[in-house]
Symmetry: C2
Subunit: 289 residues, 2 copies
């Protein structure tokens, strides 16, 4: 699966072998992938023109939205979504090969907070009392385990991280829920679209701020879409950072913003006093398993 027409520099949330790397590599197998240390750095790399595109995690089926991505796109950056990728998340328990025989008595588990949460029940029943340490990424946790052969510690990470850092997977698929996917946004400074090849879904993402009280206004916003039979695949609230109870809404509509009904809907949202920021229309891709 490749959607590229020219060779591009693409920032992604690193390090190499992160889940974002896997999603990015699937979509852009022949481009120049540049790992970044944080989501804001990915977004700033594309905003400042150092790369053509950036790939960042947006939402996980279990953990919900990645607040930093949503908030940075709303408060800090003027970027467009030019595509989205959905990848299955499979978490494995891995140790240094030197510790592979002792793995039943590991002293500590390292991983990203989301990965630890995704394996909460497994860890609770299997390794109750073993300290869990939050790390900046699953791949960074794998690297720590690779760099610490003398300690019997484990990382929770993906198979690419085990391969890259030469770790031994001692238990496969330790995540508690099976339907676990992460959705990634491909971001650009320009309101373009990746190729429609390999995609069956067209989506538009709006960020909507309501005029006054949430109750009636949100109902009006949904009415604008409902009577036009514009389907929402998602609506989510995020704090405006002006006080408890002040929210903006991220709305994904399964339609092209160039359609007549969509143009009418956006005009009416403005007329209702809403502030509407469009992140653009884009196609959805899925990483093959």
């Amino acid at each position: 699966m490749s959607t590229q027409n020219w060779e591009k520099r693409i920032a992604y949330l690193g390090p190499e072998a992160s889940f974002t790397y896997l999603a990015t590599k699937g979509l852009f197998p022949n481009d120049w992938l540049m790992p970044q240390a944080s989501i804001p750095e990915c977004i700033e790399a594309v905003a400042e023109g150092r790369v053509e595109l950036a790939v960042v995690p947006l939402e996980n089926a279990l953990e919900g939205s990645v607040p930093l991505t949503v908030d940075y796109l709303f408060h800090e950056a003027d970027l467009y979504v030019v595509g989205e990728v959905t990848s299955k998340i499979q978490q494995h328990l891995m140790v240094h090969p030197a510790q592979a025989e002792n793995w039943q008595s590991i002293e500590a588990v390292y991983s990203h907070p989301h990965a630890l949460a995704q394996c909460h029940k497994y860890l609770f029943y299997r390794f109750s009392g073993v300290p869990l340490h939050q790390y900046s990424s699953t791949a960074a946790a794998a690297k720590l385990v690779a760099d610490t052969p003398e300690r019997c510690i484990a990382a929770i990470a993906n198979s690419a991280a085990a391969e890259k850092y030469g770790l031994t997977i001692v238990e496969n698929n330790i995540h508690d829920f099976h339907f676990n996917h992460t959705r990634f946004f491909v971001l650009s400074k320009d309101n373009v679209r990746l190729s429609k090849v390999d995609s069956e879904t067209t989506k538009t993402t709006f960020m909507v701020t309501l005029p006054t009280d949430v109750s009636g206004a949100l109902h009006q916003v949904l009415s604008v879409f409902a009577w036009r039979k514009l389907n929402l695949s998602k609506i989510e609230s995020r704090p405006l950072k002006t006080g408890l109870g002040d929210y903006f809404f991220i709305v994904d509509v399964l339609a092209d913003e160039e359609e007549t009904m969509m143009k009418g809907a956006v005009e009416e949202l403005h007329a209702l006093g809403c502030t509407v920021k469009s992140l653009g229309t884009y196609y959805s891709y899925t990483t093959p398993e």
Copy 2:
């Protein structure tokens, strides 16, 4: 401000000097406060009857909901909200007194991921390149700094943590946004209410699962409340953990569930095919600054 009528055992998200401790102590100054290591442990302590009440963080004005609290209440526990407390969050930079003169050249900063995010800009401009380490709580980060006098490291935590662990606050109020509050739930096995004294707001929290597609159904749910002039102070989506795009909604209504209009609304939600879980009606309190 005290709302108690009898002496109670109260679990809270520890350790002592956590923000949850401050909120709990403000509401229950004379009760037996029992720190727990995690949100699930707080919830299980009250579900299993080891304590009468538990206090857990629900939502922060900047970071949004605390997923573990919302998800545990939805998926795992059958508890009622008997009160809510809102507290102002003030973050300070603190070091060991032995390092107070060297604080400008700190090697690392430790804190809870939310506190690090709340001070993102301060840290970016003031300590760019200094590694940030995620810790289980702000108080635990303060304790680490207190236990490591030989290293020039800092914690971000509240003033109670500085006091308890004998640290020196080197910069006050380093959080990026001023309107930063956290909302805590007081949970019980029984559908009771804390005293109305010191409270001016009555709220009911519902967790609603929609029957089919999100678009039209959510619009219907909001119509049920809107025509009755029942004001929502919050609506938020959380993943159902059955797949990307499947959500349940947390709805806070500014009304008592015993009111006629509320009973009618809940009946109609059921008739629409929604699954409705009420967490009960409760009063809101504010921790004095």
